[in-house]
């Protein structure tokens, strides 16, 4: 039986992580390669990197980071942020990432999903979705709307409809981020997660809102997610990946317990 995956997420700007890991002795690691090594060694099942570098000239810094990560860790990792075309995808994959995630570029040009899946295989293409609850309406029957630009731009697209369409286009996985829950540390958006997960046959990674191990339990059971993204709860040293896994194991969620 497949294990539920626990996935630390690292935001990287110009080659440095925006949130370093704070250890109890106040040592702060801000190098994405060292952070990836730390999480790999402590049992993370996969790692997600978001390149939030603003200027496109500095994007090549990320390619170098990806190459160094690939030489350091031997579990899958994905890279998202700023991927606009097949050439961007190819660079990241050749540098050693297992998957690439597309978000706003796919909302604007959905064929990037099908072209990417055809060129590199579905298993490489992760659709990132930023979603906000805006209430049920004629154009948004599920009540959940796709947003971009960190939630500032509403796209008038229903999240459920988009998820189903993206699967048809060839997305191999969905990383579902609730903008409402993101940063609250009060738990994942369970209704949204189960709604999407029950209506697609590809795996769904829940994102946004994780603050304690119980939240992961909820989203992996009630929320029907296949994997859970975590950030501050581990970056700030509040919890470690082994602590989270041991909590889930005690509550009988199947996780990878040896690494």
């Amino acid at each position: 039986m497949l294990s539920k995956r626990i996935i630390p997420c690292l935001d990287v700007r110009e080659g440095k992580t925006t949130k370093g890991i704070k250890f109890q002795n106040n040592v702060d690691i801000g190098d994405p390669v060292e952070m990836a090594r730390y999480y790999y060694e402590s049992g993370a099942d996969e790692i997600v990197f978001y390149d939030i570098t603003a200027s496109s000239e500095k994007r090549n810094i990320m390619i170098d980071v990806v190459r160094r990560v690939a030489e350091t860790i031997f579990i899958p990792f994905s890279v998202g942020g700023g991927i606009r075309n097949l050439e961007d995808m190819r660079k990241v994959l050749l540098a050693g990432a297992e998957k690439i995630s597309v978000n706003s570029a796919a909302v604007k040009h959905p064929d990037i999903i099908s072209k990417g899946a055809e060129a590199f295989g579905k298993q490489c293409i992760v659709l990132g979705m930023d979603v906000k609850f805006t209430g049920k309406s004629e154009s948004i029957p599920s009540g959940y709307e796709i947003v971009i630009n960190g939630g500032r731009t509403h796209m008038g697209i229903d999240a459920l409809k988009w998820a189903i369409e993206a699967e048809k286009l060839g997305a191999g996985e969905i990383c579902l981020n609730s903008i409402d829950a993101d940063g609250t540390c009060e738990g994942y958006e369970l209704n949204l997660t189960s709604l999407i997960s029950e209506n697609v046959s590809i795996p769904v990674i829940a994102s946004g809102g994780a603050g304690k191990p119980e939240h992961l339990f909820d989203v992996l059971t009630k929320g029907k997610a296949d994997a859970a993204l975590i950030a501050s709860m581990v970056h700030y040293g509040t919890y470690t990946v082994p602590e989270i896994k041991s909590y889930l194991d005690k509550r009988e969620v199947k996780i990878r317990s040896r690494w």
Partner: protein, 209 residues
């Protein structure tokens, strides 16, 4: 020298990186001469069986792999490489190389049941392997160690004695197969952390008798 066979199927650099990391020399090649000179051969691959078989035949790699098998040099199949050494794949209705008897089948689940049982296709993520046999290459692997899988089809060898490890995803399927000088995994050892690297490391020093 270890030859990693390149037949235009996916990103082979991750296998090469893992072998490098373990301190062994390897080359990524589609040259049959290089393959016949190599001490051992890794046959990886991600993608679809149909187009993979076309490239393999065009490059004469089917014969190169058969020769490697006959010569007794260690061969490691990974993922699509493991499926392609079977006789036939349901994926694109493909006739394959056929050095292990049996077929490659598609996971079939009732779509309506998928969320009740939690079974999704492709089978993607970490899953455990039950060892059915002892094997030198698996000497550092414990029963139920987990490995990273990404696949929609699985090998079904005719001869049960060719099944070395099994995994359950709705059904139990052969996740490690082989005999004599060939061993092949449906999962990706190069992406499976410690137990995966242990498999690669042991393969790199394996002397099949």
């Amino acid at each position: 020298m270890i030859a990693i066979i390149d037949y235009d199927a996916g990103n082979l650099t991750s296998v090469a990186r893992a072998v490098d990391h373990l301190g062994f020399k390897c080359i990524i090649t589609n040259d049959t001469k290089e393959i016949s000179k190599a001490e051992r051969v890794i046959f990886p691959g991600v993608g679809a069986a149909g187009s993979a078989m076309e490239s393999i035949k065009r490059l004469g790699l089917d014969q190169a792999i058969k020769n490697a098998l006959i010569s007794g040099k260690p061969i490691l199949g990974i993922c699509l490489g493991t499926q392609i050494i079977m006789e036939y794949s349901e994926e694109n209705n493909s006739k394959c190389i056929g050095i292990i008897g049996g077929r490659v089948l598609s996971f079939r689940f009732d779509k309506n049941l998928k969320n009740e049982s939690g079974l999704k296709i492709p089978h993607m993520g970490w899953n455990s392997v039950l060892l059915q046999k002892n094997h030198f290459v698996l000497s550092d692997v414990k029963d139920n160690d987990e490995f990273y899988f990404v696949h929609g089809f699985y090998p079904a060898p005719d001869d049960n004695s060719h099944i070395i490890g099994t995994t359950t995803h709705g059904i139990s399927f052969a996740s490690i197969i082989g005999y004599e000088n060939i061993i092949a995994t449906q999962f990706h050892p190069e992406k499976s952390g410690r137990p995966g690297l242990a498999i690669l490391k042991n393969f790199c020093v394996w002397k099949p008798c």
